[in-house]
Amino acid sequence: MGYTVIEKIIQRHTQQEVRPGHIVWMILDVRSARDFGGPNVVKNFQKEYGDKPVADRKKTFFTFDLSVPACSLKYADSQQICREFARRKGIKVYDVNEGIGSHVLIERGHAASGSTVVGTDSHMNILGAVGSFGQGMGDVDITFAFKTGKTWFEVPETVKVILKGEFNAPSSAKDLTLFILSKLGTREAALKAVEFYGEPVKELSLAGRITLCSMVTEMAGIVGFVPEANDRFLKEIQDLSGVEYRPLTADPDARYAEEIEIDVSGLTPKAAAPFQPTNVKDVKDLSHVSIDSGFIGSCTNGRTEDMKAAADVLKGRKVKQGVILKIVPATRRVYSEILKQGILDDLFESGAVVSNPGCGGCAEGHIGLTGEGETQISTANRNFAGKQGKGNNYLASPRVVAASCVLGRIASPEDL
């Protein structure tokens, strides 16, 4: 019997037999901790192992992205605790100037296709977008990973999702993702790996794959992969990361827990209403919702292509008086690209606030919390109550957020 993608990756990293339900020891190619969870990893490590070294400092990283540069004393302390530990152990820190950890790992070639990566970030499975088995874990697990270079993992079952049909702008990868999320909910893919097939996903760029795979977390899945890739994507990922990309394919006789077909023909712009990412509605049915603010960024929609999509809508237009649009590029590299390509100029001239790279307004750590009664439309991945302050959050694509900020109500670019 053949292997699914996740089974293949795990099998390459363990001596034990890989089958769904088996718990195996898995070698880790990369282990990382961020400014959230990182200080606990340091505390655990010092308590349990003291002066002993980490298993392999070349495969161990800190990435700061949640509150960058620190905007509370707590985060300043947390980051300094990690820096000092990193210096003592000889570990590389991607510091507050670099951007979202998972994206930095992709750009720096650490998360290669077929690799295994863990970190203290619940969206580490975003790395499925580049064929890497990424997994977020708690500080106890990550401490052990730092020390031993291994972790245990229960091999998940895999669900095969086959997408049919075609969709066009203004719908984007985010609308596709929200649509899939509305179909799968939090049960179909729960605790399972997902493989996405079909023309609509095969044609996705790196940014689009990242958007889709990042929200496998919201589907309660372990990790998502898009095995089929066109030459454009292969070139894009290789140029970006500087490492060879080897597409991962499942064996023809691989066994799946389930096969689900979803027709995406005529996909229209979508938004997830508070307070569940699965609470997906058509943007046109939300046109009565007026907004106070918008956020474009996060690990889900923070790449240059996302910034460009927003800039194309905003160019020559103004964010409506009284509305605040906050834009946060995912990484320093994205920042440099939007600067050089003139995208930053279009965003700035529209009246948006553009900050340095990081998680930005995605989590309650950095710029742009929402206040009680505030309604925000955001490109992030979660809209749980309290996640970004006290306000109500809608989730949508960069184009929809941009158009909404121009009109002051939830809108699609076609309404402009």
Binding site: I23, E48, Y49, G138, V140, F144, W152
Partner: protein, 181 residues
């Protein structure tokens, strides 16, 4: 030596309609109001403190007791206290048809036996296991027996990985033992 055969009194977590309770989340197991507590021995009194019908569990539980729960036990947050509160009461193991992913990791990592049992729903429904029954479970081979009724059933035995961590006394201790070997 770690213990592998447990004999204890059973608690079957059912609701007032007599169904095994599913999706018991970490707030029902250990409410976030008590997350500031760091001393494990203090945590026992809050176990299941937010689960309708089971709030008095800590006063009734005795060391060595065994818990049977519905599917997706421990859904929700990553709080370690939701495992530690049972260790504090000296509950010997928890079985359920399935567990929340992070909950399962946390339990394994702290050396607390969590066992999957596919037949649990059927056993509970047919009252082949009931609160107060005495059960005997060998977690190496997954053989279980209700000694009050004579009924036998199967649970998933500890995987080799789980067993290694369990024998070492938790994940951190296991890392040490890896070095010593």
């Amino acid at each position: 030596m770690s213990e592998f055969v447990f004999k204890g009194r059973l608690w079957v977590l059912k609701d007032d309609k007599g169904n095994l309770i599913e999706d018991i989340d970490t707030d029902q197991i250990y409410h976030n109001a008590y997350l500031h507590i760091t001393d494990i021995s203090e945590m026992g009194r809050y176990a299941l403190g937010n689960l309708e019908g089971w709030k008095d569990f800590p006063s009734k539980a005795k060391p060595g007791d065994i818990i049977a729960a519905g599917r997706n036990f421990g859904a929700g947050s990553s709080r370690q206290q939701a495992v530690d509160c049972f260790a504090a009461l000296k509950i010997s193991l928890i079985m359920a048809p399935s567990f929340g992913a992070i909950y399962f990791r946390n339990a394994v990592n702290s050396g607390f036996p969590v066992l999957k049992c596919a037949e649990l729903e059927a056993l509970a429904e047919k009252e082949h296991i009931k609160t107060g029954d005495r059960v005997e479970i060998d977690i190496r081979i997954g053989k279980a027996r209700n000694t009050s009724t004579g009924e036998t059933f199967q649970v998933e035995p500890l995987s080799s990985v789980q067993r290694q961590i369990y024998e070492a006394g938790g994940l951190f201790a296991f890392a040490q033992s890896m070095e010593e070997r």
